[in-house]
Symmetry: D2
Subunit: 349 residues, 4 copies
C-alpha cells in the first residue's frame, strides 16, 4: 500500500504537525518485548516514572494521553465542584478544550485578561473577591502555562513570587507544561526549578517529539493518592502503559527533551531574526520559546498562507503564529523567511 | 541503558499484557514521515477511517485512546443526563471503569444480572418500568459487550433480535467491542454483520495487537455530528492522530485483525481442550472467544498463580480467567496445560 | 374565584397528599412581619437552626426545599467523584430521584438487594471488594433510610452497630430522614439517639405537616464548612429563608413533629389491625412507621383503587402501599377498612 | 414564644428582604384544604399553570423553588455539555450562582462585558467565533436578564431584534425573569410581549411578593417534553406543589403581580427623584425597574450603611444599589432620602 502524502513543506502551523522523533519510535520497539502486566504495573513505567520523579523532585508521576487530559486531571485534583480555578483568558484550559474543565470537573474558570499570557499576584488578587460568599464559586486554584500560549516564559523568580503569593493565599497552583521543555531551554534552568513553586504540573511529550504522551507531575504529596482513581475515571489509564513510559524514556535519555526544545527554540529565534526588518512584519510578543507571534500586513497573510502552513492567531489584530518543532531545519526557516520577504517586497512594489 | 525485564513466561492474565504486533510498530514508523496537520486532519486518518467506514458500513469512525473512553463517549452520544443505559451487571462499563459513566455522562446505569454476560429482549424489558415517570431515570440506551466480559458471543441472530427489540422500544444500542475481532473470528461473520443491529460500537485495537487505539464506529447517522466535540471535551482527541490511524491501518492490512483474533481464539480452544478432563478443573462458560473461564479446585489456585499470571475472576466461586493473545504460542499453551495438570495431579496424590 | 376541588376522600397514597398543618401555616404568617436579610441571615433561621442543632447535638443545620435535595446535598458532602455510596437497591436515592445523585454528584451507587430495606454491616461489607483498585469506584459512604421506604425502622442498637462498622471501615454514613419523625415516634427515642451514629442526616418536614421544608443536619463537624457553597450550587438556597425556618419552628413547638408522627403511626397501626384477618389481605412488612405494606389478592386491587387513592408498590407481588398522614382520622381509617372488607367479601361470595 | 425581631427600618438591600404579600399567604391557606395528589398532579397546579400558559402564550409552565434553579433548569433544556451559553459578564447566572451552571449543566459560559447589563446582536456575534471548531465549546444559547441585574430593561423592540438575530444564528434564547414583572410594569407591555422572542424564560414570584416560587415558562414546544425529568433530577420537584401554584394564583388574581411591580418601580423612581441634586449622589444607570444604582461620594457610604440596609454594588466605583419592594412605602423612601440628604450635607459642612 502506498503511504499517504505528508505536507509538501515544513509546517509552521504547530509543533504537533511534526512526526515523532526517531529515538521515540525506536523506544517503542525496544519496549515491545515479551509480556508485562498492564495499567502501569510494569518495569518500563516504574523506571521512567522514577526518573521523572527524581528529575522534578516530585511526589508522583502519572502518564496520560494528551494535554487536555493532563490539564483537566491536574486541576481536578485540587477542586471541589464549588471551587474555581483562576486562569488567563488565553489559557488553553479556557479556550481550546471545548469546555472540558467545566464538564469534567464541573468547576468555574475565573478568567483574567492578560496581554502576554502571564498571571501575576496582582492579577490573581483581583479575582479573589467573593471568598466566603456562598453565592460565588470559591477560588481555590490558579492555573498557569509555561511556556505560555503566546510563547512567553515566566522567569523562575516570577514563578516563585506567584507561587508564594498563591500559597499564602490558600490557593493551589497548577502549571500547564505542554511546552515546559521549551521554557526550561529558554530559561536555562532545570525542570525542578520550574516545578518548585507549583503543586501539580504537566510535562509535555507530544509537542517535543513523542508520538503522544504527557506526564502529570504531582509535587504536593497531599494530592497524589487520588490520582490513580481520577485518571482511570477520566478515561486516561492506558492498558499498555509501557508504550507511554517508553516515549518519555527516550526523551530523558541524554536529555533528548532538552536538545529537542533547544533546537526548536533556536529555530524560532532564527525565524524572528530573519523577518526582522522586513516591511509589514513585526513581533507581537517576545520570542521566549519555540513560537513566533508576528503582526503582518493583512495583505501578506493570504499569499503566504496559500503556500505555507501557519495559523492566524488573532484576525482582528493580524497576528499570526509560527511554530518551530524539534525537526524544523535551518533550511526550512530560511526558505520560509525568504518567502515572507518575497511576499513583502511584492506588496510594496 | 539495559531495558527492563518482561515477565518470565507468557501471561494468561490479559490480552493486554501482550506487546504490540510488529506490523503495528512498523506502521508507526511508516507514518512517521514529514509533517501533517494535527487532530485527524491528515491523510493517514482520512484513509484508515474511510476503510473502517466501509468495513462496517458506518456513518462515521473516530479514533480514541482506550476502551473506557470508547464506551463512555459512545454512550454519551445517546443520552441526556436524565436518561439511563441498561447494561449487564457484569459490564465493563459498570464494573471496571471507576464510575466514569456516572461522572462523565452523569447518567444512571440500570444493571441486569445475567449468567453469561448477555442481555436478551426479556432482560431489557424488565428494566423498562418507570418510563414516563419523572421520578425515574428514563431508559434510553442499551449497552452490550461482544465478545462479553466472560468470553461468550451473541450470535448474529441474537444481536438482530435484541437490536430489533430495542429499536422497536425506542432504545438505542451501544456495543462495547473491545474484543469485537474475537467475536467476528468465532462467529465467522463480517464486522458489518456485527454492527448491523447497533447504533454505535467500538472496535478494539489494543487487545488485538495495537499499541493503544480504539475506534468508535457510529452506524446511526443522527449521532455522528456531535462526536468531534464530545471526543475533544472527553479528552480523547489525539493531536498526532496519524499514529492512532496507522495502528488500525496495520490491523486492516491483509485482515491482520482477523488473523490475530483467530489465533488468540484458537489458543483459548487449545487451552480449554488441554485442561479437559484434568481433575479439579472445569469450564465455567463456553469458550467463544480468546478467554477461558475455568472453575478450579481452590487448592490449585495458589500454586498455579505463583508461577503463572492470571486473574481470579470470582473468588467466591473459584473461577479463574485465562486469556490468550495474538502472540500466545502453542508452546505457551502446552506448557501452561502441563503445569495445570501437574498441579492437579500433585493435589490428588 | 372558586377554589379547586380536593380529592373526595382521604388519600392513602402518600403522606405528602396531605395539606400542611395549620400551625405551620400560622407560623408562615407570624414570620411575615417586616424586613429581614435574605439567604438565612435572619433571626428566624438563626433561632430555629439553633433549636435543631441542640435537638440533634449537631454541628450544623441547613434548610433545603425537598427530600431529593437533602439526600443529594448530604451525600455530596462526603464524596469525591470517583467515590461511591453504598445503599439499598430500594433506596429513594437510587430509585426515585431520576438519577439526581449520578448527575449532581457524578458518583456511582453501589446497590444492595435487601428484603426489608435495611442495610447491615454484612451487606455493606459485601460491597467493599475493589477498594484500592483504580478500576473500581471507591466506596466511601453508606446511605440508609429511617424509617425505610418500606416502613421498617432500624433500632437504635442496629444504627449503632452499623455506624460503628462503617466508621471502623472508613465509611461515612448518611441517613435519609424524610420520615425520621415517624421512626422516633415508633422507637420512642430522641432525635439525637437516631443521629448519634451518622455523619449527616436529613430531618423531613414535608411529610410531617410542613408546606415544604427539609433540614440537613450535619453531625460530623468536618463536613459542615462546605455546606453553604454546596447548597447554593445545588440550587437549594432560599432567599426568603425565614419561611423555611418558620415551618420547622412550628413543628418544634410543643414537639408538634412528634405528635404528628405518633398520630400517623397510630393510624397505620389501626389500619393494619383493621385489615387483620380479612381474607385476601396480608402484611408484607412489619408496620413500624406510618405506612402499611399489604399483599392483596390481585382481584382486590382494581375495585379498591377505583375509589381510594393508594399505590401498587410491587405489581409482580401484588404489594400495595397505604400511607397515613398527620391528619388521617380514625374515621378515615375505619371507612377504608370497611371498604377493603366489603371488597374482600364480595370477592369471596 | 416571642417572635424574633425584624430589621428596625425598611431595607433597601434587596427586594427579597421583604415579607410575602398577604394575598399570597392567604392563598396558601386556601390551598390547604383536603388531600390532593403530589408532584403537581393537583387542581391548583393545573389551574394556575394553565393561567400562566395563557398569559404568556406558552407551551409549558413549571414551578420551581428559586431563581438559580429556574436559570439552570431553563438553560439545561437547551444545551448538550459541549455547548455553551453566551451571557453578560454581570449575569446572575455567571456571577451569583456559585458555579451552578458549570456544575449542573457542565457547560461553559461565554461571557461578554457590557456596561448596562444588556446584550445586543453585535455583542453576541462577537462570541460566535469558533463555531464548528471541535476545540471550542459551541455557542448554542444566549441568556439575558429582564430587568437586568443593574435595573435596566430591554425594550420590546430590542428583545425582538436580539431574538431574531439569535434564531437566525441557530441560537436559543433564555431570559432570566426574576424581575420580569418590574420590566413589564416599566415597559407597559404584556408578559407575552416580553416572551415573544425567547425560547424559555423564568417569571419570578419571590421578589414580587411570593414566599418563594418561580415559574419556568417554556415557549418553544420542542423544549417542553424533557422538563419534568430535568426538574426532578435537578431537585426542583415539589411534592406539595399546590403551595407553589397557589402563590402564583394569588399573584395572578387582579394582576397583583403587576400592581406589586408598579408600586416597587414607582418607589424606585421616587427615590431617584428624591436624591436628584443631592451633592455627592449621582445615578449610575437609568432607573427602569425597582432598583436605583447610585454613585456615592465614598465618604457617604459608611454613615448611611450604619443605619440603612443596602449593598455596595461596585466598591471600586463607589456604586451602591438601592432596591424597592412591593411593600416599600412612600414614607420609607422619604425617610431614606432625608437620611441621604442629611449625610451629604453633613459631609459638605
Amino acid at each position: 500500500m502506498t503511504p499517504p502524502q505528508a505536507l509538501p513543506r515544513k509546517s509552521f502551523g504547530s509543533d504537533n504537525h511534526a512526526r515523532a522523533h526517531p529515538a521515540v519510535l525506536s523506544a517503542l520497539g525496544s519496549a515491545s518485548r515479551g509480556d508485562v502486566t498492564a495499567y502501569g504495573d510494569d518495569p518500563w513505567t516504574e523506571r521512567v516514572a522514577a526518573q521523572l520523579r527524581q528529575e522534578f523532585g516530585a511526589s508522583g508521576v502519572f502518564f496520560v494521553f494528551n494535554g487536555t487530559a493532563a490539564n483537566v486531571l491536574g486541576v481536578s485534583l485540587m477542586l471541589r465542584p464549588y471551587e474555581a480555578v483562576i486562569c488567563a483568558e488565553s489559557a488553553h484550559l479556557n479556550v481550546d478544550e471545548c469546555g472540558a474543565a467545566e464538564r469534567i470537573i464541573g468547576c468555574k474558570l475565573l478568567t483574567v485578561p492578560t496581554d502576554d499570557g502571564k498571571l501575576t499576584p496582582e492579577l490573581v488578587a483581583a479575582r479573589l473577591a467573593g471568598r466566603g460568599d456562598e453565592h460565588r464559586a470559591q477560588p481555590r486554584a490558579v492555573a498557569i502555562t509555561q511556556a505560555t500560549e503566546v510563547g512567553t516564559c515566566y522567569t523562575v523568580a516570577e514563578l516563585r513570587r506567584l507561587g508564594d503569593f498563591c500559597h499564602d493565599s490558600d490557593l493551589l497552583v497548577f502549571l500547564d507544561g505542554a511546552r515546559l521543555a521549551n521554557a526550561a531551554a529558554f530559561l536555562g534552568c532545570s525542570l525542578s526549578d520550574l516545578a518548585g513553586s507549583v503543586d501539580v504540573l504537566s510535562f509535555g511529550g507530544t509537542k517535543n517529539g513523542a508520538v503522544g504522551a504527557e506526564a502529570l507531575v504531582v509535587m504536593n504529596p497531599a494530592l497524589t493518592a487520588s490520582v490513580p482513581f481520577q485518571r482511570k475515571q477520566q478515561m486516561q489509564l492506558a492498558s499498555k502503559m509501557r508504550y507511554l513510559a517508553a516515549q518519555f524514556g527516550a526523551l530523558l535519555e541524554d536529555q533528548l527533551w532538552l536538545q529537542n526544545a533547544r533546537h526548536a527554540n533556536a529555530m524560532a529565534q532564527r525565524l524572528a531574526a530573519g523577518v526582522s526588518g522586513i516591511p509589514g512584519v513585526g513581533l507581537r510578543y517576545p520570542v521566549e520559546s519555540n513560537g513566533v507571534f508576528a503582526t503582518l500586513d493583512p495583505a501578506l497573510i493570504e499569499p503566504l498562507a496559500s503556500e505555507w502552513n501557519f495559523y492566524v492567531w488573532d484576525a482582528s489584530e493580524n497576528v499570526v503564529r509560527w511554530m518551530a518543532a524539534f525537526d524544523t531545519s535551518e533550511e526550512d526557516v530560511d526558505a520560509f523567511v525568504a518567502a515572507i520577504r518575497a511576499a513583502a517586497l511584492k506588496l510594496i512594489s
